[in-house]
Every structure is written in C-alpha cells, then in structure tokens.
Symmetry: C2
Subunit: 407 residues, 2 copies
C-alpha cells in the first residue's frame, strides 16, 4: 500500500520517433516515462476521479491501455491533492502502475459557466460538489499536479468557444502568459509539462500559439479548444494549420478527440496522443462500437439476438455474452452491463489504435484506413457537432446536476 | 453462444452426506447437480436479474462461488422465460457454468403489498416495472422455472408475516396444497424441486409443515418465512423446532439468511445451503465485513487510511486497494467501488463457509466458531430485526420505487 514512485529519481519523459508514414504526417514512436514506455500513436482512456469508470487497473492493462488520463479539477476537490500525495501519489492511490496524464483543470473550470470568474491572475470558481469557492492560478495548477504525480501534466489554459474570434484573441494572450508561469513554477523533473495551444478554429491564432509556445521549449504540445462546438471538417482544417508548426522531436496531443474514424484523421495529421470520454460514456448509454458503426443495445430487435456485439471480436464481452444478455442488463439497469460495454468499447478503440500504429510501421496506413472506412459508418457529422462543452472531454459536471454529487 | 445444457440427459441432483459434527447437527456433504458438485454447507450469492450485481461469472468463480440464486419473479417479467429458454436457458444466457437455484417467485409476489391478490388457485399481481397484471399458480411457477432451467427450483409458497399465527395457519394449508401441485406439474428430471416449509415462528405449524411435505418425498427442503421480521433468537428457536423433523438424506436450505455469525448458527442446526443479498447489498452501501465486524467506508477517519479493509485478506480488493481509495470511490459514486466492496464481502463470506465446512471435517467446528466470535462483533440484534420484507431476501422492488425501473 506504499508508493513505488520516487519523485525526482527517474529520467525525465522523452519522445523518440521510430517511423514516419511516407504518405501523410503520421508517425510511430515511443514516449518514455518513469512509469514505462507509451507506444505512440496512443489512445488514453479517461479516469476522471482516479478510476476509469467501472474497470479495474488489471482489466485496463489486459485491454492494452498504456496511458490513462485523470482530472485535476475533480481530484483537487475530492479527495484532495494533499491526501493523494500522502498516500504516495495517484499511481499508488489508484494502483495504476503505468503512465498517467493529468489535465490542468482549466477545461473543467471553464465549463462551469456562471460559477467562475477569470482574470489574468487565474480563475475563481465554485465547486460543483458543495458550492465552496476556490482559485486556480497557473502556479496552483502545477502545485496540485506535482502532488498528484502524473507522468505528463498540462499547463493551465483558457478554453473558449472555438468559433468566437475576438474572445480567442484575448484568451490566447492569457494562455501564453500562463504557460510561461507554469513552466517557471514546475519543479518535478520526472514529470513532462506539456503546453496547450489554443486559438479556436482560426489559423492565424493557432500559428501564433505554436510560435509563442514552441519558443518556450516544452517537452510536448497539446492542441486544446477543439471538438467542443465546431464541425468535424473545421477540427481537421485547424489541425492542418497547426501541426506543421510544431517541432518534430516533441509529442503532440489532441485533447478530447476519439471516435474510431477520428483516430485515422488525427494520426494522419501527426498526432501522437488522443483521449476521449466517448468509449466509456457511450458504453454507459448502451452504445457499442462495431466494424460497421455504432450499435445501440436498446434496440428491440436485439432482444433475442444470440450473437455477440461483433463476431470475431476478441474482447471478454464478445467471447462470452450475447447481444440479448447485454440488452437485458442495460434495460435492467445492471452495473455489469456498464462494465461489459466499457470493456468492449475500449478494446475496440485500443485495438484500432494499435492497428494504426502497426500500419505506420508496415507502410500501409492509407490501405488500413480505407479498409476500415469502407465498412464503418460514422455517426453523421451533424450529430457530431458539440453544442456544449460536455460531450467529449470531461466537463466539471454533467448538464443534469450543476451543484450536487457528480459521478 | 449456444447452450451447453441438455435438459433431461443428466442425472437428477442428489445429496451425499460425508461427515457429521459430533457436537452439533452440522454436516458436510456434496449436492451433485448436472452443472457440477456443490460442496455443502454452502453460501449462495444472489443474482436476481441473471447477474450477481457488478460481478462477472469469472470473478464469482474465482471468489469460490459454486451455487448462485436467480429470481423467477424478476426474470419472468424481464426479459421473460421464453426468451431465456430460446437462448439455451439461464446458464447459457448469463454464462454461468456452475449450479443455479431459482426461487419460485412467491416471496417477491407477496412482498408486493397492495399490488397482489391471493386465492387458493394462485396469486394475481401487478408488475413493479409497468403495472401490467400477471398470475402465478403453482403450475405456472414450475413452467417458468423449467424454462429458466436452474439445477434446483422451488415450489410456490405463501410467505406471511412470521409473527401472525392465525394467518400462518391459513397460508400453511395453501403452501402444502401448492407444493403437491408443483410436484405434479414438474417434468424435468435434471432439476431438483425443493419444497418450502412455512409456519412462521410457531413450532407446531413448522412440525406440521415438515410432516406434510416430507411425506411427499421432495429431493430437498427449504425453510422459508424467516429473517423477515422476527428476532434472531426466534429464527434459531424455529430452526431448532424444524430441522430435526427433516430427513437426513436430503439437503436443507435456509432462505434469505447470511450474516457471518448466522452461518455458524444455521450450519450447527443442520443447514446445508444459505443465500442472502446482504454481502452485495452492504457492499453497495459502503459497508464491508472484517474479522472484527462491519466497517463503514463512509467514516471520515478512513479518509487517509492506507490500510486495506483487512490486513492479510487474500481478496483482490485487499491485495490492491486502501480504505482511503475505497472511501473515495464510494463518496464519488464510482461503480468500481461497488465492485471492489462486493468482491471483498463475497470473498469474506465464501471463505468463512469454506472454513466452516473444513472445520466439520476436522471435527473442530465449535473451536472455529468460538475463535471467530471472540473477535467478530455482530450488529446488535435490535438492528437485525426486519421491519419489512425488503432486507435479506430480494423483494420484488425496493421501498423507494414501487412501480418503476428496479435495478
């Protein structure tokens, strides 16, 4: 029950590129961290409250997860960074032996519309749990993240509506200033502090963000402010206008993106790390991935269907259970259903990203993409627009309950 | 995804006694069924809706479960017995390869106060899910249980308030008549149909119930109508007045009982099988068993406690997680907490019943009991009285929602 983590004794995280796709900006590599190597490109399941919902660490590792994300905002409020630190840090607390990434808390705080006030100094906000007042400054966010002890931590950023040009200009200056303060405040050499680029869907702002932040020489760069209101085409255009201005020798992280079809689009544009609540959130809503698209387990026609979610799928769920049983569990509100669907969806996405990585090594990424997309029917783009901040990344709290017990 | 179960081809379930305790009525044996041997005495976890809440079949087997219970009332209403039958029966549907016991549905129907009407013919009741009207007769209960296909099935009984003497007299005659009709209706030779003794806390009624039902020569006998309102001392006195009138060569099942201290009391009185929702229900409420008594994980003093629930416990939860982490999961409403607590509580009870069985073979049951009780502080008897039917056995629906989605 004590920590296996020794802050400061490990080599700092660093990235090595191993192979480039000749036909796109895709690349395969490894991000070395004190808790092990992360093969890239990689998809990171989200463990907001120090648990990837419904699953044990053993199950996550069996599914092929090599990096998970936890949320600074949630853990700061409950159970608290000092408590986690006193128990040996996040790895020890949640018994996850492999790499962890924590976000800065900025995204969650900015999702608390009406409950926060931003100044150049930082953000004052009210807890969604009990309404108590708190402040995040760049220095405070780094202090909390050092206590949590993740391998990769994020600079505090301001995350505006990506379509609001005027506000993005103001927020961008603040984000850059905060990134500099985070860099100065950061002391743990065993953690990699990534900067977050902002600038909405505006090419000139994104370029400016890349210029300013790369001049500060961070060990990695995240692209924030996307997948939260813009059309998919705008997401990819923005990536096209941003990634070429990032250094080749540093990892690139696209925040909050992770539909199956998105993995190809992002990796082709040079992204190394993605995270998204989608696979586990869909699972809890009874929606599961198949090679033909999403399947809704609530459908009446599945009531007596003896087939697994997907024939030939190697996950525990498909090796054992029928669609009929999964539908029954979902309709009966049984927790086992949430688990089995989560196992399948994460297995699907993690297998897909591993297949994409292998395709980069094999030099046939375009073929693998075409083969996948010839079968897979994505949810229509109109349904993929995000009217609020609550869809892909983990907001502070769901739309249902603003002040209350978020689970 | 097809059934491995071949109705009618297997030998009928039968019991062999292997060892008797010289100082009590305790006995160790084996109940042979078409899905494997059940070592007795045994504790059966409850899987109301074809799932022991939060756990996979693999986990249950790893915990040492060799028999689970499922509820006829719930499965009849959702997803339906015909549907489960079309998918190969309950074993195949829920992928549980070992023995299953189904109750008759009577207990749940009688827990639907105000929503049911009983006659000598059977019970008319309204579904707690959608209010639709249904009828259970003895024949109907057997028909459903044959479709579900459990190894052990139960005769339809009427389960009254155990303290109401006059009503117990009326209900007893009905229960006996229904048992006879169940016996006539039952056709599947691979299933053992157990009768249920009733009679409340009244020794003469219990003796009468034993006399009538044993004359019909069932392959096993259950003691129903206890642990639902009477004091603990009355439960054990009733058992003292009942078990001696049951045949030695048939298994005896005490329904809805299963606190750790109860296991000793019941087994000493000659009980072979027990079931109870307690370990999994307590787990979901954040209460876990230790060798010193129950521990409430909500307690503030556990917030930073790095110890496991119990030092030296071999369960997955205790081998990996601190009380602090389990408390955090519980307070955050995280499903993983329900799982980890359920794993611990079932491991605790199943290990205890295995220890009790070994003690019978070793001839030192009294010593093992004394050793256990010298440390274990039970919840006070006053708190163990049951004001309604909802505590130990699975009622049709929790007190919270009468008509609605029971989970």
């Amino acid at each position: 029950m004590t920590s296996s983590h020794s802050p400061g004794l490990s080599a700092p995280p660093h990235y090595s590129c191993m192979k480039r796709d000749p036909h796109s900006a895709a690349r395969a590599g490894v991000l070395h961290t004190p808790h092990g190597a992360i093969p890239t490109p990689i998809f990171a399941p989200v463990g907001t409250q120090a648990t990837v919902k419904t699953l044990t660490p053993d199950e996550l590792q069996a599914l092929g997860a090599s990096l998970i994300l936890a949320n600074t905002y949630h853990l700061y409020l409950r159970p608290g960074a000092d408590l986690i630190s006193s128990l040996g840090g996040l790895h020890s607390f949640m018994r996850w032996p492999a790499p962890i990434l924590t976000d800065s808390g900025g995204f969650q705080v900015f999702s608390l519309e009406g409950l926060r006030r931003v100044t150049d100094e930082g953000v004052v906000f009210r807890s969604h749990i009990d309404g108590s007042e708190h402040e995040f400054s760049p220095e405070k966010s780094i202090e909390i993240q050092e206590k949590l002890g993740a391998d990769i931590i994020m600079a505090l950023d301001e995350c505006p509506n990506p379509l609001d040009c005027e506000y993005n200009k103001i927020a961008l200056a603040r984000t850059h200033h905060w990134a500099e303060r985070c860099l100065r405040a950061h002391t743990r050499q065993d953690q990699a502090l990534f900067a977050i680029l902002q600038g909405g869907i505006f090419a000139d702002l994104r370029r400016e963000s890349a210029r300013v932040l790369t001049s500060l020489d961070f060990p990695g760069y995240a692209i924030g402010g996307l997948s939260i209101g813009e059309a998919k085409s705008q997401t990819w255009e923005t990536l096209d206008q941003t990634v070429p201005f990032l250094p080749e020798d540093k990892p690139r992280y696209l925040m909050g993106v992770g539909s199956p079809e998105d993995l190809f689009e992002a990796v082709e544009r040079g992204i190394d790390i993605l995270d998204c609540v989608l696979p586990t959130r869909l699972a809890r809503n009874g929606a599961v991935f198949t090679s033909h698209g999403r399947l809704n387990l609530r459908k009446a026609e599945l009531a007596a269907d003896p087939a697994p979610i997907e024939e030939g799928c190697g996950c525990y769920t498909c090796r054992n259970f029928s669609r009929a049983y999964l539908r029954h569990l979902h309709k009966s509100g049984e927790v086992l259903g949430l688990r089995l669907n989560s196992i399948h969806n994460l297995y699907f996405l993690l297998s897909l990203i591993h297949r994409i990585r292998q395709a980069i090594f094999d030099g046939n990424l375009a073929d693998v993409k075409q083969e996948f997309l010839s079968q897979y029917i994505p949810v229509e783009d109109t349904k993929q627009r995000y009217g609020n901040l609550a869809r892909r990344r983990k907001p502070a709290v769901s739309a249902k309950s603003r002040i209350g017990n978020a689970s």
